[in-house]
């Protein structure tokens, strides 16, 4: 309805292949970005930032990462939590070892560690597929968590086994540690999400992304046209883990401030998996939507009884929440396996050809 595409013709492939080729879309994105960067930090309460927006952003990065691996390359992984842990712990080690190193830089490097680990645990994908692989990734999950639990070196021998985000500044602004304001941490997280999302989008629309999807859709045919299965899968594992790693660092430094290994246990892996199922497998946008949905859900669920002032003891609420979670996942798989992103896409198409139905 709002689209006016007549006359938006392309005279070069550059125009034709740009990220948002429709003018109206570009306006929308611009407006939205402005809103997210300017309006939100001004008006959002600390609760909103700390309890909803920042977690959302942190998980969004992980979700994008997992979607690259599972949604685009078709390799189901249950090891997300482990890779996030690698990011968190490696950045913790780095920043405590080199306090002067720019924290942003550390985030980016921590991703590399996760990527390396990802490659190691991706190796089995050469030989094993599907469920077997999924289980293999569980191995990484358990092993890594165990590792960070047992090897005191990782948490600098602190008796509690907890790691803390030390105060660090960027351009004189305090971005981590107890003294940092939620606004700042929100903005940093948002920047990471924005940049990484674009990077991911570029990857999947480029040659690499196509080879991933080729492997996903029909690996035999893919190999026949010259795609090297191992290299392709490993690249997916590496990049996916990179995203998860950065997400892990963000979780420690920009959200919680202090974590123990329990934070990264198997349930995180499931949580992120749910995000991409609900959001949409094989869609970057979907990863974001899914992350938003799953982070909001519990908050909504816990608030509903309050709003309807139905007395509900905490434990019961917890159980119901679990049920609803599971229910929603099954529902989505049945109703719209391609997730919310698909619904969004359909809606957009309808607007483009409005008033015609198809």
């Amino acid at each position: 309805m709002f689209y006016r595409e007549a006359g938006q013709f392309k005279t070069s492939y550059i125009q034709d292949q740009r990220l948002f080729s429709i003018v109206q879309d570009r306006w929308f994105i611009a407006a939205f970005t402005l809103f997210a960067f300017v309006v939100v930090p001004i008006f959002a309460s600390d609760y909103w930032l700390q309890a909803i927006l920042i977690p959302f952003l942190v998980y969004a990065v992980a979700a994008i990462g997992l979607n690259l691996l599972t949604g685009y390359c078709g390799q189901l992984s249950l090891g997300t939590g482990g890779f996030m842990a690698v990011g968190a712990y490696s950045s913790y080690k780095m920043t405590t070892a080199f306090p002067d190193l720019n924290i942003i830089l550390i985030f980016l490097i921590s991703g590399l560690f996760a990527a390396a680990v990802g490659i190691v645990f991706g190796l089995p994908s050469l030989r094993i597929k599907g469920f077997y692989l999924a289980v293999a990734t569980l191995a990484s999950q358990f092993f890594l968590i165990w590792l960070f639990n047992r090897v005191e070196w990782f948490y600098n021998y602190s008796p509690s086994g907890t790691i803390f985000a030390p105060p660090r500044t960027v351009f004189g602004v305090m971005v981590t540690g107890p003294a940092s304001t939620p606004e700042v941490r929100y903005l940093v997280s948002l920047t990471f999400v924005a940049v990484l999302a674009v990077v991911a989008k570029n990857l999947v629309r480029g040659n690499l992304g196509r080879t991933w999807m080729a492997i996903r859709d029909m690996d035999v045919a893919a190999e026949v046209i010259g795609i090297r299965p191992l290299r392709t899968k490993l690249s997916a594992f590496a990049i996916s883990s990179y995203f998860c790693g950065v997400s892990g660092s963000m979780l420690l430094f920009l959200w919680l401030g202090s974590v123990e290994t329990i934070v990264f246990d198997i349930n995180v892996s499931f949580l992120v998996l749910f995000m991409i199922i609900v959001g949409g497998l094989g869609s970057i946008l979907g990863s974001l939507i899914g992350a938003a949905f799953i982070t909001m859900l519990p908050i909504i669920l816990t608030n509903i009884p309050g709003l309807l002032n139905i007395p509900l003891n905490v434990e019961l609420a917890k159980h119901i929440e679990l049920m609803i979670f599971g229910g929603i996942i099954i529902l989505f798989l049945i109703v719209e396996p391609l997730g919310l992103a698909r619904l969004w896409q359909i809606g957009k198409e309808k607007l483009r050809i409005w008033p015609f139905p198809h």
């Binding site: 597929k129 191995a139 047992r150 998996l273 599971g326 049945i334």
Partner: protein, 311 residues
């Protein structure tokens, strides 16, 4: 040098020096292994017949145990509680077939897999909502008395558990090979279309399989439950059953047993003899790593059917 010795020499020396203890460790491993096998069996059943990798098997174990324990705590006589629980599991099977499997028929198996993960959450929430989240004791009167054989301590309970597992496997094996249902199940497993064409209702098959899996889960639940109480952690046992499963091969019942034993024993040995070196607690991942390394050399598992790519 010291380290290498600690890894490659000392443990074995130890084993030889204290054979009885070693034997105890082994038997302990076997028992645990059989318990794993019990859980793994549920997976295999469902996977064989419906091609679904039922991640929820573990929670079914918890659910079954919870129901049984819950009923008994409310004064229901054991035999009735047992029957009621079985009924509940069959009901559950129906519900799952109707609400999850049927709508998702012909979907890629990975989707079904994810659905069972959703199911896991749902069942856990459901079970705990009804019976509460706190730990329950489950005592169905299996004697726990320890006794000694050839100098090593054994527990009657363990023997019971072991034999139950063994019997169960035997029964299932018969069910699958001898009865018409079993043959039908296998037909479905091999080729849905074929199965349908010979007039076997998929729906019917699935309900049966999931019911049987439910009952298996109940048994496993009883075993684990009476051992270490009924609580959420029970469903984690399932996670441990996964490596057993891929080790044995997703489609092989003997595989599940053997896999269970290997994992059980291996894990115990590793924990006892090598664990200390690594700061202990290695059974958290040992099973997985073993399984993965093994898979690298035999992707289809011990007894799994070979996957051949058709072009």
């Amino acid at each position: 040098m010291k380290v290498l010795a600690a890894i490659f020499i000392d443990p074995f020396v130890e084993m030889v020096q204290f054979p009885v203890f070693f034997a105890e460790v082994i038997t302990g491993g076997i028992i645990v292994g059989l318990m794993y096998a019990l859980v793994a069996l549920g997976f295999v059943l469902i996977f064989k017949a419906s091609g679904v990798f039922n991640f929820a098997q573990g929670v079914m174990v918890l659910f079954a145990a919870l129901t049984l324990a819950g009923l008994m705590d409310n004064g229901v006589p054991i035999w009735l509680a047992f029957i009621l629980t079985i009924g509940a599991m069959i009901l559950l099977a129906f519900a799952i077939e109707r609400m999850v499997l049927r709508p998702l028929i012909n979907q890629p198996e990975i989707i079904l897999f994810m659905a069972t993960i959703g199911l896991t959450f749902f069942l856990q929430g459901f079970g705990e909502m009804i019976w509460g989240g706190n730990i329950r004791k489950l005592d169905i009167g299996i004697p726990q008395r320890p006794f000694e054989v050839g100098g090593m301590l054994l527990n009657q309970f363990d023997l019971v558990a072991a034999s139950t597992a063994a019997i169960l496997v035997l029964v299932l094996a018969l069910l699958f090979t001898k009865t018409p249902i079993g043959r039908a199940l296998r037909a479905v497993a091999d080729d849905h279309q074929a199965a349908l064409s010979v007039g076997i209702s998929l729906k019917y098959i699935w309900v049966i399989v999931w019911s049987v899996a439910g009952i298996v889960a109940l048994i496993a639940g009883i075993m684990w439950g009476s051992r270490s109480g009924v609580q959420f952690s029970l469903s984690l046992v399932a996670l441990k059953a996964l490596p057993v499963l891929i080790l044995g091969g997703l489609t092989s019942m003997p595989g599940a047993i053997v896999g269970g034993l290997i994992i059980g024993v291996g894990e115990k040995l590793a924990e006892v003899y090598w664990g200390p070196l690594l700061g202990g607690g290695i059974e958290a991942w040992f099973a997985y790593v073993v399984a993965v390394i093994f898979l690298l050399f035999r992707p289809q598992g011990l007894f799994g059917e070979r996957i051949i790519e058709r072009v």
